[in-house]
Symmetry: C2
Subunit: 223 residues, 2 copies
């Protein structure tokens, strides 16, 4: 266990957060903002679980939240406002993030729209595609550039996250190139595991894999 730094300038996690908990913390954050909007000042772990459709157990919520720093009051619940702030802090949601979309087909467009609508501090600042018909188009004022020009133009956009939404064959090359250009975090939609040298954080969105879980389980039931 790590000793909490009492004198830390800003709230800080008491223990290093485990990765699996992060999407849950993000879900709490979203639900709590909704509660905030509805004028609530306080919430219990059970109340939060109910807001999340009981897809997460209240003990899981308490465990997750206790990893931040004791924020609840026994017998009362959690004060929502400081909890929202704390969650935004640990999730990195208080920074602005500049996102490069590589591959601007339906998937790239869908992601760009989705994520900018969801988080105000997520900004798409560069878009690349290979198709001549797409290059030169604009999206929210951003001109789609040719992937071939990535080396010249990506640095100017000051991106810290890249989203790879290109066909499988092109994914590895695109990912390595953005990594070489200094991007430290990649969200990969290509059904193709990336192997990158260097300390790049990669998360894969495995759409077909998720479908396979459904078809596997459905065909089990059919027996």
């Amino acid at each position: 266990m790590i000793e909490p730094k009492i004198g830390a300038a800003r709230i800080e996690a008491a223990e290093p957060l485990v990765e699996v908990s992060i999407p849950r913390l993000y879900a709490y954050h979203r639900a709590l903002r909704a509660a905030q909007g509805a004028g609530k000042r306080t919430i219990t772990s059970h109340g939060l679980a109910a807001m999340l459709g009981h897809t997460i157990a209240s003990t899981q919520i308490r465990k997750d939240l206790s990893a931040l720093r004791p924020l609840g009051r026994r017998g009362h619940g959690y004060a929502i406002d400081p909890l929202v702030d704390q969650l935004a802090w640990v999730l990195g949601l208080e920074h602005d993030w500049r996102i490069a979309i590589v591959g601007f087909g339906y998937l790239g467009r869908a992601f760009a729209g989705f994520i900018t609508a969801r988080e105000r501090r997520f900004n798409v600042t560069a878009i690349f595609d290979r198709a001549p018909s797409v290059v030169g188009q604009r999206w929210q004022g951003i001109v789609v550039r040719d992937v071939a020009e990535m080396e010249r133009t990506l640095a100017d956009a000051g991106c810290n996250i890249a989203v790879i939404a290109v066909p499988a064959e092109a994914a590895q090359e695109c990912a390595q190139r953005v990594a070489d250009l200094g991007i430290r975090a990649i969200l990969n939609f290509a059904p193709m595991p990336l192997d990158l040298r260097g300390a790049v954080i990669v998360r894969n969105i495995d759409l077909a894999g998720e479908m396979a879980i459904l078809t596997h389980r459905l065909s089990l039931e059919a027996l």
Copy 2:
């Protein structure tokens, strides 16, 4: 441990497969089809790991594959053809699947195109949207119907999987309605956990949650 049914009509898993392994098995299947296409007849667990960019350890691959039924030959590796068949079988990829897309914005379109391109046996047979400008459009010959008509038209399409790609506010209602109409499996893109009564298999694609993992880790590094 479960006793393998020796006399089973078709190859069958020796042990119940754990859910986490399914997307991996699907990745193996894809890689092996590629190897097949390249004319290879046999592969080792190390060779497969290399094809997957060493994102999965070879011991993990052997563990996963050994859960199916011994298919490898010690000292030689795996014969690719029967392995591909066996994987297709356990993943349910030998059936045809009929998919309903609920919400035909960029995300719905992206998913429809992506998944039908990837697996020949995944068919989109019904599409619904709420926006009058979208209703009546065609995609690959399928007419987009009004979500309000779902009760009348979904049954005809014979779908067994629904993809929820609607805004968060509408997700719960749409999901419950498709479940009430007999759909047993849902892939949910809405950032909103669904709680459904009845035995419906739900998988969530949490795009914002994945982004939160990236922003969390990037902001850790910045310290």
